[in-house]
Amino acid sequence: MKKVEAFIRPHLVEDVRAALTDAGVKGLSVLEARGFGHQRGHTEFYRGAEYQVLFVNKVKIEAVVLDDQIDAVVSALLRVARTGKVGDGKIFVSTVDDAIRIRTGESGNAAL
């Protein structure tokens, strides 16, 4: 089992969800994040003072998938989450030892 963690642009979350579903993913989770990287943040004003806000709003997608789904998932992400401008984000893949479905207690691939 592999865990895919992707930081993407917030407004693309629904497209990504649809694409991952098409790629066979049965479940996933989304968390709000702020990211720092090559993409510049923005300037905020507060009573004449200027603040450089370095962080950019991102969304983190977490999905644990079967080993053989990983390529399809990554290419779905590359297709849908890419705008070509700095700040599209990153995908990280790591290994998961086990998964358990709380409702049934099923574990391993069956739990996904």
Binding site: H11, E14, H42, T43, E44, F45, Y46, V53
Partner: protein, 427 residues
């Protein structure tokens, strides 16, 4: 001192003999108390509108949306005393007023009816402020701030002032025809509603509309805004009697009844169609009822107000449900509420008006007179056509001069950051 400076100082100090004494009555403390209260109430409607609209947009646009209302408090506030009041109410022709009251020249605290002339100026000024602010709901979430500023200035000059003059100045052509508009059904709601329709079409749909889920950042603001609007509307309609007493009371009571009735009618219609009564529906219904009763408020009785409110709730809801069929993106339904509600109210005024309730009004269709309805219909058509055409031209000009719409990338980031460099929530 040279003459230029002299003139400037005179202006600044306002030491100018009133050009003409408006009326001849004396000032009544009770009437003035009610007019000052009403004026304050109408001013309070604009922050109310800011929240009503602000709550419905996405959190990245809430400050920008609020700004579209509150900035008008300053911008039109100044415009009004510089030129707006004069163009609206000073002697001119049947289409527009003149410049005799520019910079409030010749306007002081001399009586006008039973209140000081300046109280009338202030009261009317609050109407001028909120009217363009109403329109901004149509182009919410995608207008350049600079374009908004230009739009408000031009629209107030070219649409508001003339239409106000037509209907409420003694030499206005609709006034002379006997059109009934107690508190601004045509002047405020139809003019803004039809302009909104044109603006929504002109500027085009928001990125992602209607595919994306565009969910309100917090309807709590919207409900609070609706409450502030209802509260302030007592001044809007009640103050339009320009005095305390029986007529103000009538307008106050019809306002109350129509708002309540429309909220219930909208809720009911919603319940029938979707099975649920929403908080936004009730808040929207309140506003629809307030809009529809505005022209009628001082001309009809309480039960007619009930009928107007019920009609407004159902018809405005229905108008809003039809919107998607036409494909334009009137984002906060300004046309559905103010355009449709204002038109409905203007026409129903011609139906329900009765001299039993206001001797200076008319007897309408239900009392067997077809004429008033015709005049109302004419004022509806004229206002709608004029406002729509003028709005299109204004937007075109602004577009040529510098563009009306922000870029797609800016739209994605939101008005708050791109137009104002601010973020609404740091929780």
């Amino acid at each position: 001192m040279n003459r230029r400076l002299m003139a400037f100082l005179t202006l600044l100090l306002g030491i100018v003999p009133p050009a003409f004494a408006e009326g001849s009555g004396s000032i009544d403390s009770g009437d003035t108390a009610w007019m000052l209260t009403s004026t304050a109430l109408v001013l309070f409607m604009t922050p109310g509108l800011a929240l009503f609209y602000g709550g419905m947009v996405r959190s990245k646009n809430v400050l920008g949306t609020i700004m579209h209302s509150v900035f008008a408090m300053g911008l039109v506030g100044i415009h009004w005393v510089v030129i707006g009041y004069s163009l609206s109410f000073s002697k001119g022709n049947s289409f527009i007023g003149g410049f005799s009251h520019a910079f409030l020249n010749g306007v002081g605290v001399e009586p006008m009816g039973s209140i000081p002339h300046l109280a009338f100026v202030a009261f009317q000024g609050m109407f001028a402020i909120i009217t363009p602010a109403l329109i901004t709901g149509a182009f919410a979430e995608r207008m350049k701030f600079r374009a908004y500023v230009a739009f408000v200035l031009l629209w107030t000059t070219v649409v508001y002032a003339p239409v106000c003059h037509w209907v409420w100045a003694s030499d206005g052509w609709l006034f002379k025809l006997g059109a009934l508009d107690f508190a601004g059904g045509t002047v405020v709601h139809m003019s803004s509603g039809f302009s909104a329709l044109v603006a929504a079409i002109y500027i085009g749909r928001r990125v992602g509309y209607p595919k994306d889920q565009i969910l309100p950042n917090s309807l709590i603001w919207t409900v609070l805004g609706a409450g502030m609007l209802w509260f302030g509307w007592f001044g809007f309609n009640g103050g339009s009697a320009l005095a305390s007493g029986a007529l103000a009371t009538l307008a106050f009571v019809t306002t109350q009844i129509a708002a309540a009735a429309a909220a219930m009618a909208w809720a009911f219609a919603e319940r029938i169609r979707t099975g649920k009564v929403t908080v936004l529906g009730v808040a929207s219904g309140m506003v629809a009822g307030l809009v529809a009763v505005t022209p009628a408020s001082g001309f009809v009785g309480p039960m007619a107000a009930l009928a107007i409110g019920l009609a407004a709730g159902v018809i405005c809801y229905w108008a809003i449900c039809l919107k998607p069929r036409f494909g334009y993106d009137d984002s906060l339904d300004v046309f559905g509420v103010h355009g449709v509600g204002g038109t409905l109210g203007a026409l129903l005024t011609g139906v329900f008006a009765s001299t039993y309730w206001n001797a200076n009004g008319k007897d309408g269709l239900l009392l067997g007179n077809f004429d008033p309805l015709l005049v109302q219909a004419l004022s509806v058509v004229a206002t709608a056509a004029y406002a729509a055409a003028a709005t299109w031209i204004i937007l075109k000009l602004i577009d040529i001069a510098g563009g009306v719409r922000i870029s797609q990338a800016e739209e994605r980031e939101g008005l708050d950051l791109t137009q104002h460099g601010e973020t609404a929530y740091h929780l």
